[in-house]
Structures are given as structure tokens and as C-alpha cells.
Symmetry: C2
Subunit: 300 residues, 2 copies
């Protein structure tokens, strides 16, 4: 089934305790589409500037990712982010953010995109996410991501969005902030009562929690020694998850659970390299092999 | 099979953001024995002062816990700990510690205890833990717990102990400190190379990780909304785990994995009340019911 993602495409400069990479391919929608492309065709809607290297578009196209919704603004500059991970790799500092053309992003979806059945609203202003929803009235499953900035600065718009989407993905700190509740289990249920049918709280190296009407569960992250760069882990999780759901064209509780596992594994590969390096090294068969290990790990 | 635990028995005063309890039953060996008692007979070796309420001994005896190794020192005072949990319940401050008779604890195991097959050395000075090991030459499975204090202050003694025990249980912060490594997967393997056949890293609300020669896995904590008091969660984990292993008289990789799950569930009940309240409310059948839910949660 058709899957559309609307979100940021960026150039990232990333510093870890051991290495630094300048101007590498980044942005939530990039990690999302690449991870989703292991499972299904995916259409990217975003905006970049004229500094955008054409080779990056070619890389995405080589994975079958439809970039016809990627707007290249002449005279503009691509969204830029510079961040530094601290020693334990679980905390990061943002050193520089230049929204550039992404700051003016007002997505107009091509006609074919508007008929999508699976829609992912990557992190962005809730009002913009809502305008995308308006353009896709026939969506079967819409899932949004958000962040602390919107929780703090545009709460009414976010509340309105939560009443319209089927699912919400956010990290643990954001969930506590949104729910005003320190216990993550209580926070997850509280957020579900704000509107979405399900809520997924991403806990980084500690995995992810799912909250549905009849089900609450936790899945641990796949334990990897080769943690190189956590950037994009959450978006790769989203891409693996939504990619699998769209491939199966099924979002029953059982499919959602398996999708959570695929999201977990997509994230585990993503963090094993800078930018898309970790995901570029693998094929669907590698993901399925790791899935077997993951299943074995969780059975006793 | 016979299981012996040597460690602290204490009176705790615990403050959480919502409630305070004064002078309740605590100490690592107490949580451990109580959790283990759902599975097997367990012998407690510890020391208390003459302020020790006899009703607490009766409570332990009512669970079939053998307290013949609990030394009551006349004129002495019981180990006392006062702590406060911060808003997120994952951090705590120690407000007062009075080692009292536990500061002079030099365990002499009764003859019957020395023939135990399963031995748990709860957190304590490594030199004391080693003297207990000396008294139990026929032990089939010995597992120790430790803490940052011993890692920092008595490293040579701890290193010597690690070469003698079969398993080591410690929390995530302690594992990073002991291994000098921020990545928990690397830290777990590094500690295993210091001697123990297996290492278990407890991550509190995020579950526990297992590191063996051929296996590395993570188990999430059971997600509970009813987090009342985290005190004793790690020791209840140890008790559930060792209790199950001793009951089965099996410490094969498969048994260890199931034991990790039982430890996880024992901890989940322990945190649902102050002191032993959470564990006192349940029977083995409740643990087995939660085990079915936990298994379902982890299968997809």
C-alpha cells in the first residue's frame, strides 16, 4: 500500500566522542523513507535548497523512494543541524540549527500522494501536520511524530492534531512533558486519551512502549555493541514500523506489534553508522535474520 | 535445592513524592529471601540489633524462610537507611545511613548452611563476600551483587571475588563504572571477562540485560502503573531469579533465561508497595499469571 511521509530533509554535522562527520544526509523524513523502503514503496514530501547534492536524491531513488514531492528551492539553503553526543551517547547538545527553506515549508502534496492510505507526519509544526492531513482525506492510517518545542509552544494546535491522527510517536521526555506525568505507563495512557488510537513512546537504547485500547507492552532495543551515531534512530523506527504496516496493509493489533519489532530492528541498524551508512549496509534479508535473533532473545 | 543468602537486614525510612514510611522492614537480604520464598526454601544469614521487632522474624518464618542464621546482637542497633525518591522515582538520595551492627558483620554460617548448593552474596564488602564463599566449598552456583562503593574503594578485593563467583548482578551505573565503558553491551561483556560466567545488568524501569558466553539478551521490565516504592526492586529480582533456579536445580542457559523473567516479575510486584507490601499481597499463582501476560507481551 502507498506510504507517504512529510517531514524534514537536512544536512547534518554530527560529533560523537570519537568521530565527526560534516554535512551528511539527515532529516527525519530521510531516515524514515530509507527504513521504510525495505518494506514498501514510499513517497517523500519535503523541501531542500539549491545546495542539495543531486547524488542524495539519486541515492533515495535507487531505493525506489519516490522523490517527486521533494521541492528544490532555487536560491534557498537546505535545513542544517549540528549536534554533539556526550560520552554516554544518550544525551546530545544541539550546537546549531538553520531551518532555511524548511522554515517556510508549506507542503502541497502532488495529486497521487493525496490518495495515500498510509501517512506519516514526521516531526514538524502541528498546524502544518494538520494541513497535510486535510489534503489526504482517504488515509487509512495516519501517524504523527512531535517534539518538546511544539508541546511547549503550540499546544492548542497539537491538541487539535491529536484528536485527528490514529497514532502518535514521541520520545520518553516528550511524553512526560505532554502528559505532565513522570510514570511512563500512566503518561502513555493519558496521551492516548487525548485522541490517538495508539501511542508509542520511544526510549532510545531502552526500547519502545506501546499503548493501545486493550494492550500495553514494551519492546527492548536490540542490544548492539556497535553504537556509532544515534541520529535518526527514532525516525528509522517509524520508517520500519510504517513500512511494514503498509506492506502488509494491515494495522490490526498483531500487525502493529510485529511492526514495532521491525521498527526496533531498523533503528538498531541505523545507529550502527553515521547518517544512512548503517542502513545502507543491509538488505531486507539482514533485517529478517536479526528478527529471528530478536524473537529468540525474547522467548523463554 | 537449598538456597542461602548473606546480606543486609535493615529498618528503612522511605520518602516518595507522595508518601513517607518510617522504620519499615528492608535490607537486600530481606527482599531477596521474600521473593525467593515463592519458589523454594531459603536460609537467611544476617545480623540485627535488639531493636529488631520479633514480628519481622515471624513474618519471614511464616514464608518458610529459615532465620536460624539471623544473629540478634544484644545491645546493638539494626542497620538503618533513610532515602528519598525524586519526582521521576528513578533517582534517589540517601539521607541517612547507620550501619550499626551490620558494620561489624562477619558472617559465620551454621553447619547446615555451608552445604548449600545455591548461594547469593547480596551487596556487601567483597572481602566479606569472599569469606562466605570460603565457608561454602560445595556450592554449585554462586552469584554476587555489588555497588559503586566497593568498585571505588575495594577494587582489588572485588576483582579477586569476580574470579571466584559464577554470576554477578549489578545496576547500569555500577556496570559502567566497573568496566570504564559507557556502552552497556560492551560493559557487560567486559565484566564477564573479569571472571563470572554470566553478568546481569539491572536497568530499573528499563529491565535487565544478560551476558553469557554464548548469549546476550535484554528483558524489559513489566510495565506497571502502580509504582509506589522502588526500594528492593533489584534484590527482589535476584530473589525471584535465584529462587527459581534453586527450585528447578538447573542453571542451564534456558533455565537462566526463565529465571531472569521470574526475577523481573518479582521486582514488578515489589515496587507496587512500600517495604514488602507488594510481595505480601501475592501468591505464586499471581506471579505465574503475570508470567503469562509477560510472555504474551513479548511474543509477536
Amino acid at each position: 500500500m502507498s506510504l507517504v511521509v512529510v517531514g524534514s530533509v537536512a544536512l547534518d554535522s554530527v560529533e560523537t566522542p570519537t568521530e565527526t562527520r560534516e554535512n551528511v544526509l539527515g532529516g527525519s523524513a530521510v531516515f524514515f523513507t530509507y527504513a521504510a523502503s525495505f518494506f514498501t514503496g514510499v513517497k517523500l514530501v519535503s523541501v531542500v535548497g539549491e545546495d542539495w547534492p543531486a547524488k542524495y536524491t539519486e541515492l533515495l531513488n535507487s531505493r525506489g523512494i519516490d522523490t517527486s514531492g521533494l521541492d528544490v528551492v532555487s536560491g534557498g539553503k537546505t535545513f542544517f543541524w549540528r549536534g554533539r553526543y556526550l560520552d554516554d551517547m544518550n544525551q546530545r547538545e544541539t550546537l546549531d540549527v538553520q531551518l532555511n527553506v524548511f522554515g517556510e515549508f508549506d507542503p502541497k502534496l502532488p495529486e497521487a500522494h493525496r490518495r495515500c492510505k498510509y501517512l506519516f507526519l514526521a516531526n514538524g509544526p502541528p498546524a502544518i501536520q494538520a494541513r497535510v492531513l486535510d489534503q489526504c482525506p482517504g488515509t487509512q492510517l495516519s501517524v504523527a511524530d512531535t517534539m518538546d518545542l511544539w508541546i511547549k509552544s503550540t499546544r492548542p494546535e497539537l491538541d487539535a492534531l491529536l484528536r485527528r491522527v490514529d497514532g502518535l510517536l514521541l520520545n520518553d521526555g516528550e511524553a512526560k512533558l505532554l502528559a505532565g506525568e513522570e510514570n511512563l505507563v500512566k503518561a502513555g495512557h493519558a496521551i492516548r486519551r487525548m485522541g490517538p488510537r495508539f501511542v508509542i513512546i520511544k526510549k532510545g537504547e531502552h526500547g519502545a512502549m506501546f499503548f493501545g485500547e486493550h494492550e500495553t507492552y514494551v519492546m527492548p532495543a536490540y542490544p548492539t555493541e556497535d553504537l556509532v551515531d544515534p541520529t535518526g534512530a527514532g525516525d528509522s523506527f517509524g520508517g520500519g514500523m510504517m513500512g511494514y504496516l503498509a506492506e502488509q496493509n494491515d494495522f490490526s493489533p498483531a500487525a502493529l506489534k510485529k511492526a514495532m519489532a521491525y521498527g526496533t530492528l531498523a533503528a538498531s541498524f541505523a545507529v550502527e553508522g553515521f547518517s544512512l551508512d548503517g542502513l545502507q549496509r543491509v538488505e531486507r534479508a539482514d533485517i529478517d535474520r536479526r528478527m529471528e535473533q530478536y524473537r529468540r532473545m525474547l522467548s523463554f
